[in-house]
């Protein structure tokens, strides 16, 4: 899994939910979308990349959501 693709896809998901007025719910929704639609190795690869290189390439809402993603 290319990290650049995972980052791009995660940020796209974040873009959709970023517009929602209830911020707390929006963060949960980003996490739920990743949890329910991404195969575990994709989530693991994203976590690993962020662990190694930091989360600066992720949008704020995805950064907030990532700790909720197993």
């Amino acid at each position: 899994m290319k990290p650049a693709n995972l980052i791009k896809m995660a940020n796209q998901i974040g873009d959709f939910f970023d517009a929602m007025p209830n911020r707390e719910q929006a963060v949960k929704d980003v996490a739920a979308h990743l949890q329910r639609n991404w195969e575990p190795r994709m989530r693991e690869a994203l976590h690993a990349y962020v662990y190694e290189t930091g989360d600066s390439e992720l949008s704020k809402i995805v950064r907030d959501a990532l700790p909720l993603v197993k």
């Binding site: 899994m1 290319k2 693709n5 896809m9 873009d15 959709f16 329910r36 639609n37 195969e39």
Partner: protein
């Protein structure tokens, strides 16, 4: 074999009238013709120009009757039944009149019945017999229309023989009323009257779209299928369902033994009601094309020659390789792709094989690359991943909004319904970057054409909502009663923002704000308003957002839950809906239930006697990515051709090459088969039983009319593979698979083959509450309870034009070809379209020195290819367009891996490109040609080329 013909169409009316015909009392809806009432009473009145698919015309004068108290002999087809009317259909006077009329017809008709292709199935012949014609007093020597007449054989599928024409006008009326093309007319007057295509052209030169409606309507051999001329009349028939687009037309396969003579649109088919298009009606010859592979084949390496083997050896080898990969790389290193061209039962079995025998959730369907955003968007807003209506519902629409769909090309039988409704007075809004057919067709003109820039659907849809909210056009009571309150308030506040106004969005979308405002007013206030959309909505980085925006519009205006309204995805392939319903997505079990749902999982675990993983599997693009990083090494690909149909071809090819083991199950050695180690021969829709589910959620039977050429139907092959993998599967017939689906899937609980045979088709949900199915969804409540508005922030695609790539390429399909063309390229449809053509606006062409017919190199960030150009104003400046039906074109070499945020549906519709005149194919095309030759060489080892 001919269906009972009532002579004139059925009339729907609350008021009934009772009349007496030949002493029989009959009650019919007011407005019904005497002819139809007579048939209903069991009385057949002779006729020639009348048929129940067309409005009455009253020209042949054969259906004359006597009506008590009336003078003369009115034609029964044009005379409405009235209460108390007393009709006589037989008398010596009527017999004389009819015989005289028939005598005139026959005096100008070649008397070659015994050698005529319509012999035994000719209405003229039958009527001559019925009226007792015994002589033609005028002789045959006078002026006539049958000597020295040239037959038009230009169309590949049917002939037009003017010598046999009785000028009944049925073909002309069929072209107008049923098809809506207006390609035919009657030229000349009096004795000179003749059926003419176009401006006295041949059929091929005219606007004829070869739908076959005229052939179907012809009462003689004037217009007749070439297959009937070659083979003769059929001796039996079977009802089945077309294997092309998502309309899912019912057909009668007319047969001689196990050989198809012709496919005739089924009058009682609820999706098509007796109409068809050039593909379903005529392009079925691929089923017996010499390119069919009919023996299983294996090879160790993709550079090895193929070797024919038995089915058992193929299953054993495939199972061994899949297990080897799992042992070496883990359980999740393999998966499967299923196809929307396969039946529900086949799709169900493959996902069952993956979940039960592979032991993971790595199954995906080609719906991933077309309508997966529909599933997501409609589930989130309305609560069910499906369209809300029947096709017939459009008859009640007052406003029709078509966005990102070109039904005349992609869903032609539905397009005919749409055009008919517009001719009747419905208003039409088209949102599309191109001047598609329905923008300005004969007697059909869009009231508004919002010619947006590719990639700006969400901007336009949200600005339509802005107008509805800001101008007070909301259906307030509907929303208050049917929708979630807070979600609506949040949405209303969002769309009302100035940034979402048509004026603010104009710079992005290119659509004048005034047109958006006018279209929004029409949609919101014009009566029953229905939205129809296609891949021009879904295949974008914001595909799911656009689907949500469409659902928002429908809820905001109360256009859900009754006939004439709704949200209607036009599915690309015949079983897109079905393949999604059957649990072919990696995160959902059948019936759209998430794999993490313990209750659902346990239901399937108990039925299948296995443990099912609770985590989602890989989607197609994820599988390809994982193949390149070495964690996905084995693929079972049934009826799907990602090497041609998926975006960024070179990426797909690299990923397939990286896999250690690929099984392809298909009719032909397709592009993906170049990377396969096992080839399992597939069965066409004519060779198997099953069901397809069309875009209206209509489940229709597919019936085996000939034995599978390779000895096994696809469901049998999947069963064989599962058994070889050590997971026991045993079904004697697909009906048993459907019984299992019904047992495990609440929306299918009431579906079974007996009921399908009895009722013709069923629209799911079909269960105890709705035993005969559900034509219209969300009638009193949304499936999710309350409808849910969702905010649709416009996010421009990252695929932007630059100085290097200043044009936007968008892709689509043509009427005569279908998807990757594997079927239609192997039919005479190549006479209509034999290569993918690039459309370019004159302004862009001139800037680049490109003229009609030039070879043009197209370069994107993903790759480059070469296509022949046509210069046309169908596209707007800055936009180019092509199709993807021919593998050698490499249209998907240039599309990118951008995809929908929610579903990874590829963004086929927006690719930034530059064009340049060239004089040779691209490097990829030359390499592809070499690989094609190598593929053929490797086939030679088994004597197949």
């Amino acid at each position: 074999m001919n269906d009972l013909d009532y002579g004139t169409p059925a009339v729907v009316a609350d008021r009934k009238v009772t009349l007496n015909i030949d002493g029989v009392a009959v009650t019919v809806p007011a407005g019904t013709s005497v002819m139809r009432a007579a048939v209903q009473a069991g009385v057949m009145i002779p006729k020639l120009c009348a048929t129940d698919s067309l409005e009455p015309f009253g020209s042949c004068r054969l259906c004359l009757v006597e009506i008590e108290g009336r003078r003369g002999y009115p034609s029964s087809c044009t005379t409405p039944a009235e209460a108390g009317m007393k009709v006589r259909t037989q008398s010596s006077k009527l017999a004389d009149l009819r015989r005289n009329v028939m005598e005139l017809y026959i005096s100008d008709h070649p008397l070659d019945c015994l050698t005529c292709a319509a012999n035994g199935n000719c209405e003229l012949q039958t009527m001559a017999g019925e009226v007792g014609l015994r002589e033609v007093r005028y002789g045959m020597a006078g002026a006539n229309h049958f000597t020295n007449v040239k037959k038009d054989e230009s169309n590949p599928y049917f002939t037009y023989d003017p010598a046999k024409c009785i000028v009944c006008n049925r073909c002309v009326r069929a072209c107008e009323e049923q098809q809506g093309t207006f390609a035919l007319t009657i030229s000349g007057r009096g004795f000179e009257s003749r059926v003419t295509a176009g401006q006295n052209n041949s059929f091929m030169e005219s606007d004829c779209v070869s739908c076959g409606a005229c052939v179907n309507a012809c009462p003689t051999a004037t217009l007749i299928e070439k297959t009937v001329i070659a083979k003769g009349q059929a001796e039996h028939e079977m009802i089945t369902t077309c294997a092309y687009c998502g309309v899912g037309c019912g057909f009668k396969a007319e047969m001689q033994g196990s050989e198809v003579v012709r496919m005739v649109p089924w009058k009682d088919g609820q999706a098509n009601e007796g109409h068809a298009c050039v593909k379903g009606r005529f392009a079925w010859g691929y089923a017996t094309h010499p390119d069919r592979i009919t023996k299983p084949m294996i090879r160790e390496k993709i550079s090895d020659p193929w070797r024919e083997v038995s089915w058992e050896e193929a299953f054993t080898y495939a199972a061994g390789e899949f297990r080897r990969i799992q042992e070496k790389y883990g359980k999740n290193a393999i998966g499967a792709l299923v196809s929307s061209r396969c039946t529900n039962e086949e799709d169900y079995l493959v996902q069952k094989l993956v979940r039960a025998a592979f032991g993971n959730n790595n199954v995906d369907t080609c719906a991933r690359v077309c309508h997966s955003p529909t599933g997501y968007g409609l589930k989130q807003t309305l609560g069910e991943s499906a369209g809300t209506q029947t096709f017939k519902s459009i008859e009640k629409s007052n406003v029709i909004l078509v966005i990102g769909a070109n039904p005349s090309e992609g869903h032609p039988v539905f397009a005919s319904r749409l055009k008919r409704r517009v001719r009747e007075g419905a208003k039409l809004i088209v949102i599309d970057p191109r001047n598609i057919d329905i923008v300005n067709a004969p007697h059909v003109k869009a009231n508004y054409h919002l010619k947006l820039k590719p990639g700006t659907n969400v901007a336009v849809l949200t600005s339509l909502a802005h107008v509805i909210v800001s101008e007070g056009l909301l259906a307030e009571s509907f929303i208050a009663e049917r929708c979630e309150d807070q979600a609506f308030k949040d949405w209303r506040e969002f769309v009302a923002r100035t940034e979402n106004s048509p004026e603010a969005m104009e710079a992005q979308s290119g659509v004048p704000a005034g047109e958006v405002r006018a279209a929004a007013r029409l949609y919101a206030t014009g009566g029953n308003a229905a939205i129809y959309y296609g891949l021009g909505v879904t295949e974008h980085s914001q595909g799911s957002t656009a689907v949500i925006a469409i659902a928002n519009l429908a809820m905001a205006t109360g256009n859900v839950g009754r006939e004439g309204v709704g949200v209607n995805p036009l599915r690309g392939q015949n079983n897109v809906q079905g393949s999604c319903d059957m649990g072919s997505f990696p995160h959902e079990l059948p019936g759209y239930r998430h794999v993490s749902d313990t209750t659902t999982r346990e239901l399937f675990e108990n039925a299948w006697n296995v443990k099912i993983q609770s985590e989602p599997g890989l989607r197609i693009p994820n599988m390809l990515e994982a193949a390149l990083d070495g964690s996905f090494l084995g693929l079972y690909c049934q009826g799907e051709d990602p090497a041609q149909s998926d975006p960024d071809t070179q990426h797909v090819q690299e990923a397939l090459t990286a896999m250690e083991f690929v099984v392809v199950q298909d009719l032909f050695l397709n592009e993906t088969a170049k990377y396969a180690h096992v080839f399992l021969p597939g069965a066409s829709f004519l060779e198997k039983d099953g069901t397809f589910t069309n875009a209206e959620r209509r489940i229709s039977r597919v019936r085996k009319v000939m034995p599978p050429l390779a000895g096994k139907a696809d469901w049998e092959a999947t069963m064989g593979l599962a058994n070889a993998l050590g997971y026991a599967m045993h079904y004697d017939h697909p009906s048993q698979i459907m019984d299992e689906i019904a047992q495990l899937t609440p929306t299918f609980a009431g579906v079974n083959y007996e009921k399908l045979d009895r009722l013709g088709s069923l629209q799911w949900p079909c269960n105890d509450d709705t035993p005969e199915g559900t034509p219209i969804m969300h009638v009193d409540n949304f499936v999710r309870g309350k409808g849910r508005f969702l905010i649709t922030q416009y996010v421009p695609t990252s695929e932007k034009v630059t100085r290097k790539f200043p044009l936007l390429l968008t892709t689509g399909r043509v009427l005569s070809q279908y998807n990757v063309g594997a079927q239609t390229r192997r039919t005479e449809n190549v006479q209509f379209y034999d290569e993918d053509i690039l459309e370019i606006h004159p302004h862009d062409a001139e800037e680049r020195g490109i003229v009609e017919g030039n070879w043009v190199g197209i370069q994107s960030r993903a790759g480059d290819t070469v296509l022949r150009a046509t210069v046309t104003t169908r596209v707007q400046p800055g936009v180019v367009y092509t199709t993807f039906h021919f593998p050698e074109s490499g249209a998907n070499v240039i599309t990118t891996d951008n995809s929908d945020w929610a579903t990874n549906c590829p963004e086929y519709k927006v690719t930034a490109v530059e064009l340049v005149r060239v004089d040779q194919p691209s490097e990829w095309q030359m390499r592809n040609e070499r690989e094609d030759k190598e593929q053929h060489r490797l086939l030679a080892a088994v004597g197949l080329v």
